[in-house]
Amino acid sequence: MLWHPILIGVWLTDLSVALLMLSAAWTALKMTVAWRPDAPSADQLRLERSAEDLPLKARWAALLLLAATVLLAVALTNVLPAHVPGAMCATGVLQAMGSAGRRLLTLRGMALLALFICQVIGAIDRHEPRSLLAPAMARAILIAQPPLWLSQWAFLEAINRLRPHAAVDCCALLYERSGGLAGRPGSMPITDAFWMALLLAASAGVLALAARIRWGRPPQRSVMAGGLALLAGFWCVLAATCLKKVFAGYIYQVPSHECLYCLFLLQHGAVGFPIFGALAMVLAEGLACWTAALIGERRRPLADAARQRASSAALRIMAASVAFLIMAGMPALLWRWRFGVWIG
């Protein structure tokens, strides 16, 4: 077990989030059972007062969890490798953590997205005095509980598996998996040009759909927003793959190094943080756009506020995807300009 001060900081912040959300969950549960907005009875009024705190708690929980996640990312990428023998980046640290490490990141991501959606619901709901989305907020908070608590457990499990004397292979393992420059024997060679074409096509689709939502007047906004959310998700996966297979080499200035975590190292300018921040924004705002569009269709009084939120989500998706392409693609363009050839 390895208890670095930064990990203690992450754990304490996570604990604050969990306790905050636990108190919110109790109110959410009562609301799910006994919410009667039409009757101004004593119980209902009491419940309404408790419900007012939910958006605030969700917002603070989201902010704290985000801060803890950034801290955890710094720990995994730049602090813990010095304490895990053989680790040069987060790849080695996650190897030491085993499956708990991957579960930790997945569940944490899910919890963050769930809390982000709570925050989106709360922000739209503020535009109407009667808190029409209180039941939806309550449900969202209850949905956020399992990944939140499971990620806490995964965190403890992952830390418990870190051993200061057990060496790992780190990025070298990736070479064995990917077969290095030659590729895995028998695998179909997929060229950089193919990946780039796929990425550019997907980016064009995302930008076009987002622009339509932002500036157009589509008749079936939620369908279009849902399509944007799905396409944004697909685009994120594709972008991360292209980053690994094509762009990383230009950033590291080596023929091939398919390790995404090395992007977070200070020696590479920690470019991984803004690059993955852009990807996270595309994914999160895709879901926000869909959520806002659904709210706008189902709650007429909130249609304007929801439309505004969906529009701003579309704009952020466009900005983040372009920012990603610039941050990831610029080193490649510079390389081409300097040397006249592409790597590989």
Partner: protein, 385 residues
């Protein structure tokens, strides 16, 4: 509040601070002193760390010393060099002659001048030493009647001091006596063909750790290997052990911070009635939180800036004696400490996290309860005119 009138909140926050001048001044002074104390400790740690890193980076990647049951032993230079050169990845292996001897006022470090690595003085002129001559560091004193330096080692030698290293290099030359290899061998009792240790370089620093097992097996005798990473680790634990000042300054500082935070929470709670009143008069919860934030910033920011500036002066004021006296046991000024812009930013960030963030957090947290409650609940029990 209208967006165009948000600046009025700053003005009102200033008015609120001035409404209780005694309390505000005391709080500012406490925060300033707390910041001064913590920043001094953090800045010293960071400066020591950066200075040490700067020196360690210039040191060889790996140092090889022959060891026996009784301690370390000189190693035969030729076979050692051949063994090291045979390991793939080793660059520029070379032997060194150095050791400790007694000087007039304590132990000094004797190092043989390596002609392949010339030493220049502050004017860029290369030093040329002949047997019987020495170049000494700023801390070497105690010249005898003939104006020379008497050293007691395996043999006693009397050396003429031809050059004194400037005080700016004191971090690495304070107790250094640079002599010719012949004089060094006589002082240290090293026979010809033997050396104190062997050093080597590598292409990438992480390779040093990877080469350790191979180096261990390359030599025909037991050896102790030290890398830069190990030296840094040793240095940091030494600093931590010697870091009584950090505990001494840290504990009262922590208590002081807790006291300030508790007092802040109480002060905000005591203003519940006024908070309720201004809510009743039409202020929104956002306006109230901004007001509390601005009030805190008006007090905290000058305190923190003043504290950091004061700490910088305390640590880096030219000719300050206390750092050398406390940390090095030297009577003269401390060696110049290196602190980069990134180091200053890192220290400021730590101060922001340790002091500013908790202060703002507790203020806003205490205010949050007031901001979301009904005005009459807050006003009950309050005393007004």
């Amino acid at each position: 509040m209208k967006a165009a009138a948000r600046h009025l909140l700053w003005i009102w926050a200033g008015r609120e601070v001035l409404r209780r001048p005694g309390e505000s001044s005391l709080l500012l002074l406490c925060l300033l002193l707390l910041t001064l104390l913590m920043t001094t400790a953090l800045m010293l740690t960071q400066a020591f760390s950066e200075t040490a890193d700067a020196l360690i980076t210039q040191a060889p990647a790996v140092v090889v010393r022959r060891v026996t049951a009784g301690g370390w032993q000189p190693l035969p230079a030729g076979p050692a060099l051949a063994a090291a050169a045979a390991v793939r990845g080793v660059l520029n292996p070379r032997v060194r002659i150095w050791g400790n001897v007694s000087g007039p006022q304590g132990t000094l470090m004797v190092v043989a001048h390596d002609a392949r690595s010339p030493v220049t003085d502050q004017h860029g002129v290369a030093l040329h030493l002949v047997p019987g001559q020495a170049a000494v560091g700023a801390g070497v004193s105690g010249a005898d009647a003939r104006g020379g330096l008497a050293l007691e080692g395996h043999e006693s030698l009397h050396l003429e001091v031809v050059h004194r290293f400037p005080s700016e290099t004191a971090a690495s030359t304070y107790d250094l006596v640079l002599v010719t290899p012949a004089d060094a061998r006589r002082l240290l009792g090293l026979p010809e063909g033997f050396a104190s240790d062997l050093v080597l370089d590598v292409f990438h620093e992480p390779e040093a750790e990877a080469l350790l097992p191979e180096l261990q097996g390359a030599f025909p005798w037991p050896v102790h290997l030290t890398t830069r990473r190990m030296v840094r680790g040793d240095y940091r634990s030494q600093l931590a052990k010697r870091g009584g000042i950090f505990v001494v300054s840290g504990l009262p500082a922590l208590c002081g911070l807790l006291l300030i935070l508790v007092a802040t929470v109480k002060a905000v709670r005591n203003e519940r009635a006024t908070t309720g009143l201004i809510k009743a008069l039409g202020w929104t919860s956002d306006d109230l939180l901004r007001l509390y934030l601005y009030k805190s910033l008006l007090i905290a920011l000058p305190a923190i800036v003043g504290g950091i500036a004061g700490a910088y002066l305390l640590v880096f004021l030219p000719h300050n004696q206390w750092v050398a006296d406390l940390f090095f046991g030297w009577p003269g000024p401390a060696p110049p400490l290196a602190l980069s812009i990134q180091g200053v930013v890192w220290v400021a960030a730590q101060v922001a996290v340790l002091i500013l963030a908790p202060f703002l957090t507790v203020t806003l947290w205490a205010a949050l309860g007031s901001a979301t409650a009904d005005p009459q609940q807050l006003m009950q029990g309050g005393r007004f005119l």
